[in-house]
Subunit: 206 residues, 2 copies
Amino acid sequence: MGNEMIPDIVVGRLPLYLRTLQLMSAEGRQVTSSQELGERLGISAAQIRKDLSQFGEFGKQGTGYHIDYLANQIKKILHLNKSWDVVVVGAGDVGHALSRYQGFSNRGFTVSMVFDNDPAKIGQKVGGFIVESIAELPELVEKAQIKVAMLAVPAAQAQQVTDMLVKAGVKAILNYAPINLLVPQDVKVQYIDPVLHLQRMSYYLE
Amino acid sequence: MGNEMIPDIVVGRLPLYLRTLQLMSAEGRQVTSSQELGERLGISAAQIRKDLSQFGEFGKQGTGYHIDYLANQIKKILHLNKSWDVVVVGAGDVGHALSRYQGFSNRGFTVSMVFDNDPAKIGQKVGGFIVESIAELPELVEKAQIKVAMLAVPAAQAQQVTDMLVKAGVKAILNYAPINLLVPQDVKVQYIDPVLHLQRMSYYLE
């Protein structure tokens, strides 16, 4: 499919299309159009058609897209036709919320372990998981061949934990610590820092 | 300054520059360069110089940027030379984590109220706040002239709560519900959905 040549920004819009298609499906809908998708997402219909055309032919001129079919195709493209095990590192407020969040499992991900370095937290139950010591992380993650991690540790520890995760074979890290991470080229990092989003909006205030 | 003409994608990088400058300042550093900023952020030095030049002249050829000066200038551009009061709507796990998070106040935002519609939560303490009834939201938000909200309610209720917030005068919404919101043109929305980030990375796995 020449995946290497598709810009990451296009890849990044596919989950948005998928989420909207799945909502439509839950509403009992069967067919949609690039126009309707675009209106729901604030993206132009032409952009959506162009993005999808990079991966194949999913709709017919005049009849639009079959919602479940297109959703399944996007799931395949994003490798979501299986469920990925995910570890959560850091059992503070964010790690707690992540380990209890019900919205992962029906969208391709399953939290399978939670780690912390705080003796007061290790062995305690968080969101149905017994918190494991971070000292066990390298062995447990490597043995379970886990490729995905969510990082919810303080900024000062984030790079060190990242190095551990990478060494254990993790290839995708969702980082909640407000700091940029250095990783090898074959490891992907995505960032969630609510303050960055708030600051982007405060520019427009007043 | 012709702010209207600066692309939102450029505005969106300023908080990233600010965060990195503040980290450098905390490390005791005084001067940096677009090269160094670029290496820390994975953005080209030319892009950073071009972005900053849209807002003014902040560095001198050969001597680089004074870290605290540039940080302060960016704070002014982003209207962060004051602290913005923020309401949290939804006192579940995410709202709980947001209301307890210590990283807002030194970056321009202060959580000032927490709302929920669950009688079991209203009146309870969450992160130092007494949870208020959502029925009180319109009056309390309008009276306090609050412009910023973080939305952590279920997807099914997100649009309805958004309409309340907009009516009460809120102009910036950080939405944690996994659904796109419809708002008037003068209201900004940013989205946080961890699954979208995970799905963007799973494309590259295997």
